[in-house]
């Protein structure tokens, strides 16, 4: 068995006074695609935020290892340098901060963390323009303020743009399919598909099987009340679609 990219062991976490994740364990190998499905409030997004290091969340117990390093002791920016990338469900708008300034700082600080030389202005622009074109965004996209006044599709594409530039090894997609029409969903999914590689793993958080149909996860976890109810292959998605969430919960609870 190859080295694990991410290993979560009995993770218990939540907000100040409320435990939301009640003992989560899962391991992701390089190149694997994992999906987490579950109802609203089951703790899916909390898991994503705790992994990314969002302030305001507290870890009560358990551990998370990424590339053999203790992820939970790192600052959010260190986690990004280490190769973790969270694509936000609702990316925040930052009026006044220019896209290209933002991307240049992000790319160069991550490069610095990884021991690479910073890109000079010319090479950076060349790289970023290439990616902007690849995503079918207009060239003045870089002159706009970060996410300010972006359409739903543009916001998600902006997340993918950052993903392309920062070249992470673990991508967490937090309901990337929400707020997109079918065409936009297809477009975004195609870009994600192109990012699949033997070195890059995905953790996809979603309500809907549609996104998973395209991305074909290796493992599907069903989350309920801060715990993983069951895990399996594609058959879990089928099961959810056919029998609904409540039935799965009943059958798991009634199992001997």
């Amino acid at each position: 068995m190859s080295k694990k990219l991410l290993e979560i062991q009995n993770l218990r976490a939540g907000t100040e006074d409320k435990e939301i994740l009640r003992g989560i364990s899962l391991a992701i190998q390089p190149g694997e695609v994992h999906a987490i499905m579950g109802q609203n409030g089951s703790g899916k997004s909390t898991l994503a935020y705790v992994l990314a290091g969002k302030p305001g969340y507290e870890v009560f117990g358990g551990s998370v290892w990424m590339n053999g390093k203790d992820l939970l002791s790192m600052e959010p920016e260190e986690r990004a340098g280490e190769g973790l990338f969270l694509a936000f469900q609702y990316p925040v708008e930052i009026p006044g901060l220019n896209m290209s300034t933002f991307l240049r700082h992000a790319v160069n600080e991550v490069r610095q963390y990884r021991g690479l030389d910073p890109l000079d202005a010319k090479n950076f622009l060349k790289l970023v323009r290439e990616k902007v074109q690849e995503l079918g965004l207009s060239s003045d996209f870089l002159k706009r303020a970060v996410n300010a006044g972006f359409s739903g599709g543009e916001k998600k594409k902006n997340e993918i743009l950052q993903l392309l530039l920062l070249e992470p090894s673990l991508v967490i997609l937090d309901e990337t399919d929400s707020g997109l029409d079918l065409d936009a969903l297809k477009q975004v999914t195609e870009h994600i598909l192109r990012l699949k590689s033997p070195e890059r793993s995905f953790l996809i958080i979603t309500h809907y099987p549609k996104l998973l149909e395209y991305l074909k996860p290796d493992v599907v976890h069903v989350m309920d009340d801060g715990q993983i109810l069951c895990s399996g292959g594609w058959e879990v998605v089928k099961d959810l679609e056919e029998h609904g969430f409540e039935n799965i919960r009943q059958s798991v609870l009634n199992a001997p």
Binding site: P55, R79, A80, V92, I94, G96, L97, A106, A145, L166
Partner: protein, 362 residues
Amino acid sequence: MTPADIMAPSRAELAVLAGQPSPRELYKYSPLSKWIPESLAGVLHKEISTSFATKWPDEIRSFFRIFDHVHDPLLRIFLRTLEPQLWQEVQGHSLFSKTALSLSPGGIVSGFQIRPEISDSFFNLKLDFQEIEAPAQPSITGFLVWVGEGISADVCLEIISDPRKAHSVLILVVAEKDSRTDLNLIISGSGQVRCNTFVSLAGPAARAHLRSVILSSPSSHHDLHNWVQHRAPETESNQTVRLLGAKDSTSVFSGQIVVENSAPRTTAYQSAKGLLLDEGAFVYMRPFLEIYHDDVKCSHGCTTGFLDPEQLFYLRSRGISESRARQELTEAFVREVFSSVGSVIQREYLNSALKHILNTCM
């Protein structure tokens, strides 16, 4: 240390000499007469009223009548006694600083007149009180911006306060029919400055956009009072204000919009935001509207807070260090003000001025 430095009383001593209470208590929303000590009022009156009887051009007369109902007594003294010859013509496209002030009598009152004659004129002015080698006493600097019919003009004024003395700046704008005035203001420094901006939209369809950024340094006190009066139909005003609160600083914005009965179909907006950067930072804001006609569109928004943790986390999750993220977000907060400046050259000028101040002082 030069002899001048040794002689210069501290700000606290100055305040006591002038009979002022502590800065934090006094300057909140205080009328101008409290800001400028009585002694200065006396000097003003004595020095200038002797020549008051001399002839006044009609246009200056009518200009001052516009402000007749401004009840601040000291402002009235200032407006009424200021000898027209004191108004120095400011050339467009120029940048001036220290020398201009020494032209005023006693080094305490100076007036500058800005009268663009062609459209798309711009005036980039800098008032650096730190560079003025004057005795440590308060001063008033007045700017009369007169934008004639159909003219469009951009005025950028950078004010840098000085800890040795308290200063007051008056900006009077008269906008005639179909004119456009953009007034961009950056206040910074480590001392006390009070800036009063009076804008009179006197002709139909006159438009004015006031953009102001107040940056503070530890223990600075910066005060901005906007007063925008709509006198004619279909006039339009817009105020965008951002205040940055450094450690133990006080920043004040009070913004009044007056829509007279003679100004139907008026549009007036005001947006003011304060950002508290450190402990002991105070930001006071007071927006108010006075509307005497039904057919108008007016709105105002006013918030004060800390850096948005969501924005901070977003940048950090992309590998940007916390200190850099804070710096970028702070800059973004103030930079947003100038994003609506029409001329690219002006926008660049303002943004580079901002960047310079943020890099050196904050």
